[in-house]
C-alpha cells in the first residue's frame, strides 16, 4: 500500500528562521505529491503540488518543495517563517482518482 511519512511531528521556530519539513513517500505507482496547510480552526488549503517536470515547485505564501526521486522525498521549505505560518502541515500522495494518502502532519509553531 502507498504510504506517506512525515518525520517531524512538532517543530518550533522563531520568526525569520528557515523551515524544512520532511515528507517521504513509498515506492511504486504514479507519484503526485501535495502539501496542504491547516490553520487553527480552518480547513485544508493547498500550498503546492508536484506532478512531473521541474522538481522544484513553488507554492503560495513563499513556500516551495523539492521532489528528489532518489530519496523518495518531497520536503517543504520556506526561507524565513512568520508567526502567521503557525499551522499544521500535511503531505499527501494524490492519485488521479481515488483516495489520497496523508501523512500524520507536522505542527509548526512560530514564536514571535
Amino acid at each position: 500500500a502507498q504510504s506517506v511519512s512525515q518525520h517531524n511531528h512538532h517543530v518550533i521556530l522563531s520568526e525569520a528562521a528557515s523551515l524544512e519539513l520532511g515528507c517521504n513517500y513509498s515506492y511504486g505507482g504514479t507519484v503526485n505529491l501535495f502539501w496542504y496547510v491547516q490553520y487553527p480552526g480552518q480547513h485544508l488549503q493547498l500550498l503546492l503540488k508536484y506532478f512531473s517536470g521541474d522538481p522544484l515547485v513553488k507554492g503560495i505564501k513563499g513556500f516551495e518543495a523539492e521532489f528528489i526521486k532518489s530519496k523518495f522525498s518531497f520536503n517543504l521549505r520556506k526561507p524565513s517563517v512568520q508567526w502567521s505560518d503557525t499551522a499544521e502541515y500535511f503531505c499527501a500522495r494524490v492519485p488521479k482518482a481515488g483516495k489520497s494518502t496523508f501523512g500524520d502532519g507536522t505542527t509548526l509553531t512560530v514564536k514571535p
Binding site: F34, Q42, K96
Partner: protein
C-alpha cells in the same frame, strides 16, 4: 476559483441520532470523496464515489455510513446512528482529474 461547499459548518447531534452532511462539489467534477479528521489525528479517507456508485471505501466506512448523490449536484454523507467516536471534522473533496482535486471547508460534527 471554483469551490467545494459544505454545509453545515458545525453540527451537534445526540448519540444514536442520524446525521446528514452535505457537500456541493465543483460542477464539472466526476469523482467525489469524503475524508474525516478526528481532533489531533491525521486526515483519513472514508469513501470515493464515481459514476453513481462507491468506487472505494475504507474500513472506517462501515454499515453506519452511506453516501448519495441525490440530485446531480449534492453529495451527501449519512451516518445512521451516531456514536461519540464519530465526532470529527468531515471533509468533502471532488476531482475531475489530478489537477482539480479540491477539498471543502469541512463540517465539524460533535456527538454528545
Amino acid at each position: 476559483e471554483p469551490e467545494v461547499t459544505q454545509t453545515p459548518s458545525h453540527q451537534v447531534t445526540q448519540m444514536g441520532q442520524e446525521v446528514i452532511l452535505r457537500c456541493v462539489p465543483i460542477s464539472n467534477h466526476l469523482y467525489f470523496y469524503w475524508y474525516r479528521q478526528i481532533l489531533g489525528q491525521k486526515v483519513e479517507f472514508l469513501v470515493s464515489f464515481y459514476n453513481n456508485e462507491i468506487s472505494e471505501k475504507s474500513e472506517i466506512f462501515d454499515d453506519q455510513f452511506s453516501v448519495e448523490r441525490p440530485d446531480g449536484s449534492n453529495f451527501t454523507l449519512k451516518i445512521r446512528s451516531t456514536k461519540l467516536e464519530d465526532s470529527a471534522m468531515y471533509f468533502c473533496a471532488s476531482s475531475a482529474n489530478i489537477f482539480g482535486y479540491t477539498f471543502g471547508s469541512g463540517t465539524r460534527l460533535t456527538v454528545v
